[in-house]
Amino acid sequence: MTPSSLEALIEALRCLPGVGPKSAQRMAYHLLQRDRKGAQRLGDALLHALQSIRHCQRCNTFTESDICERCASPKRDQKQLCVVETPVDMNMMEQTHAYQGLYYVLMGRISPLDGIGPRELGLDRLLARALDGVVEEVILATNYTNEGEATGHYITAMLKPHGINVTRIARGVPVGGELEYVDSGTLAQALRERRLCSP
């Protein structure tokens, strides 16, 4: 018979994505048998993170203070607010070194068929953030999926009446992309969204 605390651990591990009963059992035995120190570290780190990590009051990303470092930085352009779906997307934008403004992280997207609408996503908080009187432009950097597009549409409809400029990052053929290797969907949309060349 499995001791109840072991059973509880196995059950708890199953909350991880992609972990079924079998791998949960393997993980539990590994932690208890082979790596008790690692288990201790994991437990401490988990508890510590749970206690100290919260959402930034301005950009909604994970932070240990009320307002994250980026939002507090005087070097960032307060007039631009870039809306992304996840913290990972924000990191991707940062890696471009092409953007000096601030962010708002949605922590999700509108997905009507999953029952996730503006209310579930807390878009009223984005509205309040964008209407701080300083933001002039909101840049939509949501995914180019149907859900990312639906999210962008909703945010545009929400912000436009308040006189905020809403822009959307462009899509098309990737930099260094040879047409031969670009997927047809991207190429078709790039053709539809072609722009006039100026000399």
Partner: protein, 238 residues
Amino acid sequence: MQRQKVDAQPAYVLHTYPFRETSLIVEAFSRDFGRIALLARGARRPRSAVRGLLMAFQPLELSWAGKGEVLTLMKAEWQGGQPLLVGQALFCGYYLNELLIHLLPREDPHERLFERYSQMLGSLGNDPAGKVSEPELRRFEKALLQELGYGLTLNVDSAGTPVEVDAFYAYEIEQGPVRQEQGGQAVRGQTLLDLAAENFSDPRTRVEAKQLMRSLMAYYLGGAELATRKIFKELQEL
């Protein structure tokens, strides 16, 4: 059920659900097999060949194999020609997909409805601003009910008398139009006849036809509230 292998079947993705760490369950509407559920193994891996392809509202050709409730997706090919949906049209697309998911039985072929759906998406994608043509939407809803065997009676009332332009009717599911003494919640005979002829030039017809379709859909959905309608309402309340 016999093990089957289907090649290059025209289909649309209706919705996808994450499954395990890297896979997807794909609800699709195929031309010859109706609504099917496919397991797309590894579809959420960064370099998956079908990642980004299994997108709703885009014409695809799907190949699958297997038997039972969930079949395994073998291949997906992008067919093209359908602009991505934007704005209101996108939300309307979600509404259509939710209707199909709720109302179409599994593996029940509806080739004509497939054609209508494909045309409807074409019309939704054609407006660059994403405006929705209400008459087109009514025609689709009507065709959907017809295909499911819930065709509407619109020209004759419950007593077998031809519907009159100036009279008022309550639409009862089993009986069709029941003539009423007064207006109230009823629809005009004109609206019923216009809906039969699919003529939506009269603004009152458009309003009443929308209400009638809404109540019929609510009935056939068996009380299930549509998530897309709730979200669409939140959008319009802005």
